[in-house]
């Protein structure tokens, strides 16, 4: 019979065993559970990530941001537009008074007061400390109440089984998903794929940065030029802002 060292209790021994199992399993679980509890602990509460979209620079015929998001996160249309998911979409606006047309991308607005988080019965919809709104794929039950509650039509329900998922962007039939602001890139010090693609296409219409840092480009631009939040009447304080609308 194995005897435990005198200074270690049985409970300590069990604890160390649990720790060993956790250390072995955790990386894999964390990878799959991005947006889950492990990641919830990581974000910096001193930051608030956001986007500033300059509609004046957005080319109506360009969909580089959409394509980049699809490639980065592995979502793509399956030939059924009504049911295909869309994490980001290009919207064309025509002023009813003047007839002036504007084009801009719309995605999850990463609200400070997100209605999707309020209504989610399990807490699968959640906001990280740095303002990024995500869906925890492990506890989303697919009730779609968040889709009813989102004022921006930013969320999609996965109607069919999905294949070829990206390890950093797990997806699953029967759950809801939306723009993650490329949280995996941000956590690695990068910028969202749409921002990168827009810059590469030569438009630079999307600026990414920390809204709480007065020195950041996004903060300075917001201070310098007029901008607006979508559905300002709801006072949700979105992290995504628009200018030149």
């Amino acid at each position: 019979m194995t005897t435990l060292p005198a200074n270690r209790s049985r409970r300590d021994f069990l604890r160390s065993g649990a720790a060993l199992v956790t250390a072995t399993v955790a990386p894999g679980v964390t990878l799959m559970a991005f947006g889950g509890s492990a990641v919830q602990g990581a974000p910096d509460a001193g930051k608030r990530w956001g986007l500033l979209i300059d509609a004046g620079k957005c080319d109506p015929d360009c969909t580089a941001c959409v394509t980049a998001c699809q490639d980065e996160n592995g979502w793509r249309g399956q030939g059924d537009p009504q049911r295909d998911v869309q994490w980001i979409r290009k919207v064309t606006l025509k002023d009813k008074g003047t007839g002036r047309e504007t084009s801009l991308p719309v995605m999850c607005q990463h609200c400070d007061q997100p209605p999707c988080v309020d209504v989610c019965p399990t807490g699968a919809s959640f906001k990280r400390a740095d303002g990024i709104v995500l869906v925890d794929k492990h506890i989303c039950i697919g009730c779609r109440y968040c889709m009813m509650a989102c004022p921006f039509k930013a969320r999609s329900f996965v109607h069919e089984p999905v294949t070829n998922q990206k390890p950093h962007a797990p997806r699953g039939v029967g759950t809801v998903e939306s723009c993650t602001l490329c949280v995996h890139r941000i956590d690695a010090g990068g910028v969202p794929a749409c921002v990168e693609a827009c810059a590469s296409a030569g438009y630079g219409a999307i600026v990414f940065g920390d809204l709480l840092d007065p020195e950041s480009e996004i903060s300075q631009r917001l201070e310098e030029y007029p901008s607006l939040a979508l559905r300002p009447d709801l006072d949700l304080n979105p992290g995504v802002r628009y200018s030149e609308l």
Binding site: Q82, I139, C143, R144, K153, T175, V176
Partner: protein
């Protein structure tokens, strides 16, 4: 005159009972089949889309849940408001309430994208969600009505406990329907919702729909149990139903007038009331004419008593009107495009600015009907194994219980 004591009996086995059970079981099984089919293929097998995210299952589920709380009213009238004529119906009222709620919740749960994660819902609660509160309200309702039934049925429990149990159940059912209405009332995003009137509207709907279902179920069970059903009782219930229908009408007028007064909501109102295709049709013909005005005329516009056949017809019309109303609220509220960019004509690959189409698929309709069948099957089963249905509900017998 000696007051005859109400005697309750299990409904006897008969070919008619077997036939009813087989019919309902067939619908329950087809509902289960529909669930398995959708579960296997994903929601692509339904008519629901990323524009209409809640469809026919939700229409059926909300109908059943709303009717569940209303079905309890008959018991409440007896034990809370001392209307003794309804006392012999109290047990059935409680049983039907529990059964309807179970049927509705089954549809809701089986329509989840991940119904296998029900245990997740039972272990993760977000208390800012009205859904979470509803889960507690629904569970509490089942428990409270079960206790309410028990205090009525157990001879070892002193009758003094019936009133407190009934009062608690009554208050709880008001809270429950407030919660169901608030699923929509608290949605700020969509112009068709975001209105406090949803809660009282749903309560009024529950009174009408619950009573309509109750009367039909009562008539059916009395046939199966060979229980004489008095004309006066049916007359009273139907007249009460007409009153509830009028109350629903009042809240409906209030709902639309309030919206019409706000310029930002006139687009939505025009959609629902005039130019929204199937929705104005369902609203005016389904809810207003078939579900409200015709029943009101049939009940109040006659000098002769309401016959049992007419009572059934009135209940059926009210139920049809109720389904139309819930369809308009649930589907119509989603079909109208959200105003993300006021003042602009909007277009996108995600159907921004467009009215969303919806064609319910066979599986989702069967799932919904299966939930209704499950509720009726459970009621029948309950009445078969428990002493729920009185041996007689004849007018002569009820007269002894007072006409108040």
């Amino acid at each position: 005159m000696a007051i005859e004591r109400t005697i309750y009996r299990e409904i006897p086995v008969s070919p008619r009972l077997w036939a009813a059970a087989a019919l309902l079981a067939a619908f329950v099984l087809s509902g289960l089949g529909a669930f398995l089919y959708v579960e296997h293929r994903g929601h692509v097998a339904t008519g629901m889309t990323n524009q209409i995210v809640w469809g026919m299952p939700h229409v059926f589920a909300i109908f059943l849940i709303v009717a569940a709380s209303g079905a309890l009213n008959v018991a409440s009238m007896a034990s809370v408001f001392d209307r003794k004529i309804y006392k012999p119906l109290s047990r059935l009222s409680g049983l039907l309430a529990i059964s309807l709620l179970l049927g509705g919740l089954s549809v809701l749960v089986l329509d989840l994208g991940r119904p296998d994660r029900l245990i997740v819902q039972m272990t993760h609660f977000n208390f800012t969600s009205i859904f979470t509160w509803n889960i507690l309200l629904y569970s509490g309702f089942l428990a409270i009505v079960a206790v309410y039934l028990w205090v009525q049925m157990d001879r070892n429990v002193h009758p003094k406990w019936v009133k407190p149990a009934g009062l608690l159940a009554f208050v709880w059912r008001l809270a429950l329907t407030t919660g169901t209405g608030s699923i929509f009332g608290w949605l700020v995003a969509r112009p068709g919702y975001d209105a406090a009137v949803m809660a009282p509207l749903f309560i009024a709907m529950s009174f009408a729909l619950g009573l309509a279902v109750f009367v039909l179920v009562l008539q059916g069970l009395c046939v199966l149990a060979r229980c004489p059903l008095g004309q006066t009782l049916i007359e009273r219930l139907t007249r009460l139903l007409a009153l509830f229908v009028a109350v629903v009408l009042y809240f409906t007028v209030l709902q639309h007038l309030t919206n019409l007064y706000a310029a930002e909501h006139t687009g939505f109102e025009a959609f629902i009331l005039f130019d929204g295709g199937v929705f104005p049709l369902l609203f005016w013909i389904g809810q207003i004419v078939v579900g409200s005005l015709v029943p009101l005329a049939l009940v109040y516009g006659r000098k002769t008593p309401v016959s049992p056949g007419l009572a059934s017809a009135v209940c059926l019309l009210v139920i049809l009107g109720g389904v139309a109303q819930i369809y308009v609220i649930v589907i119509g509220g989603q079909a109208y495009p959200m105003e993300i960019f006021p003042g602009y004509e909007v277009s996108s690959t995600f159907f921004d600015g467009q009215v969303a189409g919806y064609a319910p698929s066979v599986p989702e309709v069967f799932l919904g009907i299966g939930g209704g069948a499950l509720a009726l099957f459970a009621t029948g089963l309950g009445a078969r194994v428990l002493r729920i249905v009185p041996t007689t509900l004849s007018d002569q017998n009820l007269a002894g219980k007072g006409q108040e």
